[in-house]
Amino acid sequence: MNSDTQFDLWEVFIQSKSGQPYVHAGSIHATDMKMAMQNARDSYTRRGEGTSIWVVPSKYIVASNPDDNEMLFDPSADKIYRHPTFYIMPEGAKNI
């Protein structure tokens, strides 16, 4: 039995200005796309935080399982050569 009397859950992503990445702002409840967009606007952009909004039904977010963290994330820990700072730039290279 579903005891949740709230509407469907949606995740809200806000872009602060053009060219910037969309950042997760939080979640809202809504019954449809229009309501989700309006509720996101009213809940998360009241203080001029954004210039663009994405809303996504939470059920479509695929999340990694914390039990898999060792498998997924530990192998990258010792691969420092994947950071650009590992490399010494040759003298004379400009604009990097």
Partner: protein, 252 residues
């Protein structure tokens, strides 16, 4: 009547519309059906109170009696308020709140687009700002009307009751009196007469989509332009003005 005197009354009327509807919506703070809607309604309320402040400040300036917007908002008796009767109607159930918003925001969208052409620079600038806000108020009310009209039997019934209950207050929105005709001839006020069929079309289209019925024409209530109000305004004012009446010039 001078243009300045007429403009003062005109600013006061628009300011009172925004003030009283804004106060009505503010009553829903923490009482809306769910938190996101609580924010939506109080956001709309704040838009309106902001508009009231701008218009009443301008009214005070036009009046030239060194009053402030606050004095106009909090120190007048009921018969000196000129807000449309529909703005003071109680929130009722959610259907009544939404239909009141629908009728008013559809009207204001048309109205401010006309007022933007005003020769009075302040009215024109205020109208340009209001259009952006009202466009959202209208979308909000429209979407709820369609959602609840074309919803369950219960939501549909409640929406139809609200439509019928508030219909008699919509005729007043399009009334032109001597003040407005004078200002219209001066290129300052908006002509409301041509807005009525446009408004009826907007409402009709939405109610079609919402599978609701346009109410039958009935006797239209009137009086706000003369300061004659329904019993609801007195209740609002007694709450809104309490502090200023009990402790004049109180500051914090």
């Amino acid at each position: 009547m001078t243009t300045k005197e007429a403009s003062f009354i005109y600013a006061l009327r628009m300011g009172d519309n925004a003030l009283i509807l804004g106060h009505r919506l503010s009553e829903l703070c923490s009482k809306a059906p769910f938190i996101e809607e609580d924010l939506a309604l109080t956001n709309i309320s704040l838009d309106l109170i902001g508009r009231a402040q701008a218009l009443l400040s301008y009214a005070a300036e036009l009046e030239g009696k060194e009053k402030t917007a606050d004095e106009l908002a909090y120190r007048r008796p009921e018969i000196d308020y000129y807000n449309h009767l529909i703005t003071e109607q109680p929130n009722g159930d959610f259907a009544h709140t939404i239909i009141r918003q629908l009728y008013i925001s559809a009207f204001e969208l048309l109205f401010f687009k006309e007022l933007e052409k005003s020769k009075d620079k302040t009215f024109s600038a205020l109208a340009a700002k209001a259009i952006k806000e009202v466009s959202y108020h209208f979308e909000h009310a429209k979407n709820w009307t369609i959602r609840l009209g074309d919803g369950t039997d219960e939501s549909k019934r409640r929406m139809q009751v609200a439509l019928n209950d508030l219909w008699m207050y919509t005729g007043e929105l399009f009334e032109m009196d001597d003040v407005e005709n004078w200002l219209l001839s001066e290129g300052i006020a908006a002509d409301l007469v041509p807005l009525k069929p446009k408004w009826a079309q907007m409402i009709g289209d939405i109610l079609d989509e919402a599978t609701l019925e346009v109410p039958e024409d009935t006797y239209m209530q009137t009086g706000s332009r003369k300061g004659v109000h329904t019993e609801s305004l007195g209740h609002i004012l007694s709450e809104m003005q309490y502090l200023q009446r009990a402790y004049p010039d109180a500051t914090w």
